[in-house]
């Protein structure tokens, strides 16, 4: 029986090309839009996330540009103070909860994690679909708050007592964040179980690709830290409705308790944001250096170390809030410890490139920008982590610049790199290289011009979250505004270039870059069950011997084609 089945299968394979997952809905009874909205295929769910995350990203980008435009001149430029507060709150909430946190895991993780593990789906496909619906519901509620008695003006941190006393619609936005947290936890749960239970037989832990490793580390943080946020946000709602006084000193409560609870999630959340980005970079650098990743085990170890240690430093956001000096000392010390694993990764990437045979492509270019921008972000994090300097720059634009360097320069750029790296795999087409480089250069230049002045303004003492400022901050803010416009122009060029590739991009082979992980061994776009034949464990995933050998025989023409487009 089995042999006959196999033969007839091989025959069909020879006579007709393998159908991609776009042509084979799963479950197969659904067609048209239903084949997307009711799908349990991890690849389709990843793409649904891609479409929705992109929409939010562009909306939040526009909100950010509005904030910047307001700040370009003193006084009220294009909006009033209340509007400004609402806009920066929405910008933050959308960027954090609807873009940076889900972007890489929900899009690329969903699409690639099962493939990198040599299996055909995640462990709980239906929960996976549910997580997308929760994501959409959360986003919808966030937008709804715009129309119901005023969007919240608390900032994305919802600090008490203001979040309890303000008249604006904090409840709705907080509920949105609560639901988005559930969505994030379901993704994490799925990834953990998939890594444990569905790795292809024979794949050992130290053979898992680094992107999947980083998602695994992230998933634990998602699963363990997110409930803390959910409960904290519920407490805010309880406080608003019943005034139970948990955070109110006049009723025996403690306002600093709120900050503890909030940052207990939200600092680990910054690692939920950055770890998958680091995973992306760890995939891209070796491929374009044609050289095995330097320190595979150290990178795996540092991902896990970041997940654990990164969960224990939250109170470095509270040095000026009036907590005990002992806590200031302890959390400052722990913060310095957590910088070590991040540095291990940066050194490993740079050492991978050392004496490699480097092939410049848009994904590598974005990755190099990532390393540079992320390093600045991480090092300024140490300025903030040191209790002494923190007192000077806390709640100034220095902090704003720091976290944009790590979240945008880091996660954002890793996301752009991932888009350019896996685009040919996901859609089976290649984009124009020249426009991609132009976009990357514009984005990076605009980025620097936008955020470097903010470091200086912060050191000069310009506080964050004000719609107006003293005259001495005028020049810096004006230049930052110009930078912001260049930055947004760069992002638009990038997105347009990718969109244009649908119209006139050339078809891409299964392995356009010379990658060695499993996704490059299957057709582009992948077939429904990912693998045509059961994959065989390759042992160590970053062995480029064959790639280098075949490269020296015939120059990689798919890449040359790409650059000629």
């Amino acid at each position: 029986m089995e042999i006959i089945g196999k033969i007839s299968y091989m025959e069909t394979q020879a006579t007709q090309p393998i159908k991609s997952f776009y042509e084979t809905p799963s479950p197969s009874r659904f067609t048209g839009i239903g084949a997307w909205l009711l799908t349990i295929d991890h690849k389709r769910i990843g793409l649904m996330y891609m479409a929705s995350v992109m929409v939010w990203f562009v909306i939040a980008l526009i909100l950010g540009l509005l904030i910047r435009t307001e700040l370009m001149a003193t006084g009220s430029t294009i909006m009033e103070a209340e509007t400004y507060n609402a806009i920066f709150t929405l910008h933050g909430v959308i960027m954090i909860f609807l873009f940076v946190i889900p972007a890489i895991p929900a899009i690329f993780g969903n699409f690639l994690l099962p493939i990198q593990l040599g299996t055909d789906d995640v462990f709980f496909p239906k929960l996976n679909l549910l997580s997308w619906y929760l994501y959409m519901l959360g986003g919808f509620l966030a937008i709804l708050s715009l129309f119901a008695d005023g969007p919240p003006d608390t900032g994305w941190t919802f600090y008490v007592p203001f979040s309890v006393s303000t008249e604006t619609n904090v409840g709705l936005t907080v509920t949105a964040a609560f639901i988005l947290g559930m969505s994030s936890m379901l993704t994490g749960l799925n990834f953990i179980t998939t890594v444990h239970r569905m790795r292809m037989p024979g794949m050992k832990w130290m053979e898992i690709p680094l992107f999947t490793w980083s998602l695994y580390a992230t998933a634990w943080v998602q699963l363990l830290a997110t409930p803390v946020l959910s409960i904290t946000l519920l407490l805010v709602i309880l406080e608003r409705i019943f005034g139970s006084g948990l955070f109110d000193p006049s009723k025996g409560g403690d306002p600093i308790l709120y900050q503890h609870l909030f940052w207990m999630y939200s600092h680990p959340a910054v690692y939920i944001m950055i770890l998958p980005g680091m995973g992306v970079i760890s995939e891209i650098i070796p491929v374009f250096s044609r050289k095995s990743i330097f320190g595979y085990k150290a990178i795996v170890g540092s991902s896990m170390a970041i997940a654990v240690a990164g969960s224990l430093v939250w109170a470095h956001h509270m040095f000026t809030s009036g907590m005990s000096d002992v806590a200031v000392f302890v959390f400052s010390f722990l913060t310095f410890i957590v910088a070590i694993p991040s540095a291990i990764k940066v050194f490993s990437w740079v050492s991978t490139m050392y004496k490699g045979s480097i092939l410049m492509t848009p994904p590598l270019f974005f990755s190099l920008c990532f390393i540079y921008l992320f390093s600045i972000g991480g090092l300024t994090g140490l300025v903030l982590g040191a209790a002494g300097t923190n007192i000077q720059v806390h709640d100034t634009h220095f902090v704003v610049a720091h976290f944009h360097f790590v979240m945008f320069g880091g996660t954002g750029f890793a996301f752009f790199a991932a888009l350019h790296f896996w685009w040919p795999k996901i859609f089976g087409i290649m984009y124009n290289f020249k426009r991609a480089y132009v976009a990357a250069i514009l984005t990076t230049t605009g980025f620097m011009l936008h955020y470097i002045p903010m470091f200086i303004l912060g050191i000069m003492g310009m506080p964050r979250r004000y719609y107006d400022y003293l005259p001495e901050f005028q020049t810096g803010n004006f230049f930052a505004g110009i930078g912001a416009y260049i930055l947004v122009a760069g992002v638009l060029v990038m997105l347009l270039n990718l969109l244009i590739s649908f119209k006139n991009g050339e078809t891409s082979p299964s392995d356009p870059w010379g990658g060695t992980t499993l996704e490059w061994s299957i057709p582009s776009p992948p077939p429904l069950h990912n693998f045509v034949e059961s994959p065989k464990p390759k042992g160590y995933p970053y062995d480029f011997t064959d790639i280098v050998r075949s490269n020296s025989l015939n120059s990689n023409d798919s890449l040359n084609r790409g650059s000629k487009l």
């Binding site: 299996t119 055909d120 462990f123 444990h196 239970r197 569905m198 790795r199 292809m200 037989p201 363990l224 803390v228 600093i256 503890h260 207990m264 969960s311 224990l312 109170a315 907590m323 005990s324 000096d325 002992v326 806590a327 302890v330 959390f331 069950h529 990912n530 693998f531 059961s534």
Partner: protein, 100 residues
């Protein structure tokens, strides 16, 4: 390709009524203990007694009612890690609260 997930334990563990009732009795006793202890003033130790009793109770629920006792070592370890993690988080808050 789904062949690699079929060694998942699906055998249900049916526990005798006697055992379940026994666990219930222990839980009720511990609840009573909590109430009694809350009436006596040990000072700072009160909170610790309450926490310990609550932890013992939830362990019984998890082990027997939620079948954790019959799960693989991996599930147990992940669960314990969660508890350990939570207590570290709460514990670290005392760097602040205990030294103000």
């Amino acid at each position: 390709m789904t062949g690699n997930i079929d060694h998942i334990q699906s055998d249900a563990h049916i526990q005798s009524y006697g055992k379940l009732l026994g666990v219930l009795a222990i839980l009720l006793f511990l609840t009573a203990l909590t109430i009694i202890v809350s009436r006596i003033h040990f000072g700072g130790a009160n909170i610790w007694v309450a926490l310990i009793v609550a932890s013992v109770k939830s362990s019984f629920v998890l082990l027997f009612f939620m079948h954790l006792k019959y799960e693989s070592i991996l599930i147990k370890a992940s669960f314990l890690a969660t508890i350990g993690f939570l207590s570290i988080l709460i514990g670290f808050m005392f760097w602040d609260v205990a030294f103000r």
